[in-house]
Symmetry: C2
Subunit: 348 residues, 2 copies
């Protein structure tokens, strides 16, 4: 078998790419990834691509749904705090929530990690987060790519991308829009910023307020790292069982563009959402960002999720029952607004 050349100058290693470290990582990755696999996965870890047998999955339709995402500059908070095992979980949950918003339940996930210099511990910590997220959503980590890219990423910096494929369950998942005037909007709570608004949040917390990741927040016994790295929630548990319910007319994942843009995008032309902001309290993190950053309220709702990570648009006559079902699954659903004639978003 060929061995790495020792007399070549420059070798690939000297050019910044360390294939031996890559091999070491590959072996340990396998140990982390394998527990997420089940008998639907028909390929071994480390092949050219991952295989997943749909015939061994029950409760699927013929329509596949796929989503690609990143976690934005939340990765920079992880790097600043030197805590790398949560952003992978963020990304799995972000992708799963996008699938749910398209009316699909998740089947499998793949990751992409790019870094300036492969650091085994960091990469394995990131993949541990991916695996934890996959396990929590009961999907395999079917494949991925870890790329060492000197000159693009500085040492110690990395970016992540994630891809999830699901099976469409909800009939509104395709182009038909079932949302009607009079529908009720239920909101499910977020755990924090999820994966959006981090450029502004980092500027306010770290630049304007001069905080460090390990410093305590003013309103709790937690650190800024804890608050800003709180894991993006997966809404699989409460939402999955509703996907076959005709009373659920649409769903919105509150992500890039904040609360405002993501709710509006699922409304049909001629309809508007009236939101009662007194129906919930965004929470102290959002209050802090608005106050310390001197950010106007409309801008806050345009950038951040404001404490609501996922919205369900439901038939008015079914709203109470669906809210009770959510509650029964451990997920309180807040009635935050309704669909009216008009355009865009209005505040009650």
């Amino acid at each position: 078998m060929l061995e790495p050349s020792t007399d070549a100058a420059p070798s690939y290693r000297e050019a910044g790419v360390d294939l031996a470290t890559a091999d070491h990582i590959k072996r340990r990755l396998k140990e982390i990834v394998e527990p997420t696999l089940d008998d639907r996965v028909v390929t071994e870890v480390g092949g050219f691509a991952g295989g997943y047998d749909l015939a061994l999955t029950t409760d699927t339709g013929s329509v596949l749904v796929a989503s690609a995402d990143g976690v934005g500059t939340k990765v920079l908070v992880a790097q600043l705090a030197n805590r790398h095992d949560t952003v992978g979980e963020d990304l799995v949950n972000h992708c799963v929530d996008d699938l749910l918003a398209a009316g699909a339940r998740p089947l499998f996930f793949l990751d992409y990690i790019a870094t300036g210099k492969l650091d085994s511990e960091v990469v394995l910590s990131i993949v541990t987060g991916f695996a934890r997220g996959c396990a929590a959503n009961a999907i395999p980590l079917l494949g991925g790519e870890t790329a060492e890219m000197p000159d693009l990423y500085p040492v110690g910096k990395y970016d992540l991308a994630g891809f999830a494929v699901g099976s469409m369950i909800a009939r509104w998942g395709a182009s038909e829009n079932r949302v009607r005037i009079g529908d009720v909007i239920l909101g499910l709570r977020s755990s924090g910023l999820h994966t959006n608004g981090y450029s502004l949040a980092r500027r306010i917390v770290f630049d304007i307020a001069g905080q460090q990741p390990g410093d305590g927040v003013p309103w709790a016994e937690t650190s800024w790292a804890d608050e800003l790295l709180a894991v993006h929630r997966s809404y699989l548990r409460p939402v999955e069982s509703l996907l076959r319910d005709d009373g659920l007319h649409a769903a919105a994942h509150i992500t890039g563009g904040g609360f405002a843009a993501n709710l509006v995008r699922v409304l049909p032309p001629g309809s508007s959402a009236v939101i009662d902001r007194s129906a919930w309290t965004p929470g102290p993190l959002f209050d802090y960002l608005a106050t310390v950053g001197d950010v106007a309220s409309d801008e806050m709702y345009r950038v951040f999720n404001m404490g609501i990570g996922f919205c369900l648009i439901v038939a008015a006559e079914r709203a109470n029952e669906i809210a009770r079902q959510c509650q029964a699954s451990g997920e309180p659903a807040l009635t935050i607004g309704e669909v009216v004639a008009g355009e865009g978003l209005q505040w009650a």
Copy 2:
């Protein structure tokens, strides 16, 4: 509808994220992406996720195959040459070739673009490359994410990730390994470096030799940008029709790890590949890199594809016929070696 706040300080735009530019890009993206869609795509451009109806696709099995990839630091060559419309095509073809190597034909593709500051023309140029690659492989660009990440990527820099899903056709695609002692190895030519070895190639060409992307190469009327950005080939046309042929026992996409590692990974334990390097000429680009970079031959074969982008491992008694089929589809297949007892790779 909510409008961007004008009195907030700092606004999200001032923090480096320009949602208005993002909206402009989204509109033009739609025009570029829509021609790649067909009636199997059941969602509109811009939803939370893309939907693809398997029931409208003929000739598929139940096993989905998925691959995630990047193009390595080939993106830095694109950025240096200010030529952004080919790396997307590279990435689609890279993913398609990974699926083929797993015995699958491609169904759809999604992209991830991350950059420090959204430049409409650059992003649209990148997506034009993705769309061209998707069209050439007859698959839809089903979705994607374009992320503006100030502080992680400098202005003018970007990274790309791609994700393709296919349907497994070849029976050897799952774990069963059909490769036997005596099998013949056919090689299909690459167009250049494809997407691997760019850290070393950039160091040799730009640092050691001091070349600029617009400078001419010594062996042809082309520039370094032309040579180094030559598009990663898709082997869909010659390979797709062979996936149901029992004479094809395995396939290898020559990618990260170079010619040596990728051929070895498809061999069963106890078997080795004997390769006759006199069966083909890698070409002047590889000669230049070895000479100017003073890179030993084994290292060259460990880092670069050396002129062979894809290998077919075929039953000896079918080798001539399969090579003729490739030739008939416009793809010359070179007989470059055979499978023997042993381990790893040997040179004839």
